[in-house]
Assembly symmetry: C3
Homo-oligomer: 161 residues x 3
């Protein structure tokens, strides 16, 4: 079994199906764009096991608690890994995480975005370790996100060329 | 006639003049930064034919309709192509679209950002096709944009080295 | 004395200590992620000399004036340079600025983000000149930023490989 898949199993983590957009929604772009040794990851939201966008939805600090948002950021990590596996075939091809932009749908006055996005970073570091998993990061507050999701994350990874 | 220019003509699309900043505004950066084989595209707003920032302005979902915003996203694609042509000389030098960040000036409760930014993606795919035109994308809701423009888009493309 | 350090001295600029996160805050990522010839700079806020997050905090256009925000953007440039020096050892290793995303914590109706982020761009251009210092840029309005900082900036630079 490949290494990262094995670690997923050890940690009790299961990748969701790849994104099933809401009915009638057209998304004319790939969830991962592979260009040479760079794999650019489109903005992902958290997914349920069947690939539908997860709940709760809404603004963190109002409709969504920090703890729930942190779990949604964990689910967003798994959603991104599901897209990367679909594109790359094998997550072990990832030789380095490059950067992560963590966007939190933020209620007025909510400024604990880093705690939320830590849910994402922890999954990546648990799976890939501090060398490959190391990533530059910003975690910021958005006025709105598509479909009122609470968290959206985009990223870039390097793969063996 | 170069291929992309020819397709622009076929589609009845005309590139605007490059950005003319509002009076008194200093923008101490290039609209495209060429570094090796990477052309990084600064945040662009939609332009009128003369290079001035287009109208309508304001928040999508309130002062600006989704359909108008989608047209503004199309105009933003043409603005970016105008900047790329000025920098590269020839749009056929673009060998791959890499990533796109679509930022929508969003009224409270507006969460249809992907529909808006689809206006941009459609222009790129119509012109460059699914191979070269393929791009990773995020489409998100901003609290505010410069000069109260409704849409701002930044991007990266690869060019032949 | 290395060239950029010498220019810092000539300009009377002093780098702050690297970021000291607020008590109890865990940031599980590096402030600069070096991958090959790319140095990706995580989102930085403005720092005091001791590395603590600077004041004033809050929304630009309400609690924070444009002029204060511009000074905070200058301080953010120095904070980023401090992180780059810690990671690279020598700022002269930077061979080109690539891109900058300037995020301004924006009060309703505030749309002068470019003026604010010009504070950042001017420091970079003063130190590195128009060739190495040239950067693609977006300057946009966020709903919220961590710890209620007024400005956050992420970036990418190239280094000699």
């Amino acid at each position: 079994m490949p290494m990262i898949e094995s670690r997923l199993t050890d940690l009790g983590l299961i990748l969701p199906a790849t994104l099933q957009p809401p009915p009638g929604v057209v998304l004319p772009f790939p969830m991962v764009n592979l260009r040479g040794s760079r794999a650019i990851v489109s903005g992902h939201g958290p997914l349920e096991a069947d690939g539908s966008l997860a709940y709760p939805r809404g603004k963190v600090g109002a409709e969504v608690s920090v703890e729930d948002a942190r779990l949604l950021a964990r689910k967003t990590a798994l959603a991104i890994l599901s897209s990367l596996k679909a594109e790359l075939g094998d997550l072990d091809r990832i030789t380095g995480w490059v950067k992560v932009l963590g966007m939190v749908n933020s209620a007025p006055g909510f400024n604990r975005q880093p705690e939320v996005i830590n849910g994402f970073s922890e999954v990546i570091l648990d799976l890939f370790g501090p060398g490959i998993g190391r990533h530059a990061r910003s975690a910021v507050g958005m006025a709105a996100l598509p479909f009122d999701i609470a968290v959206e994350i985009e990223a870039e990874v390097e793969i063996a060329s």
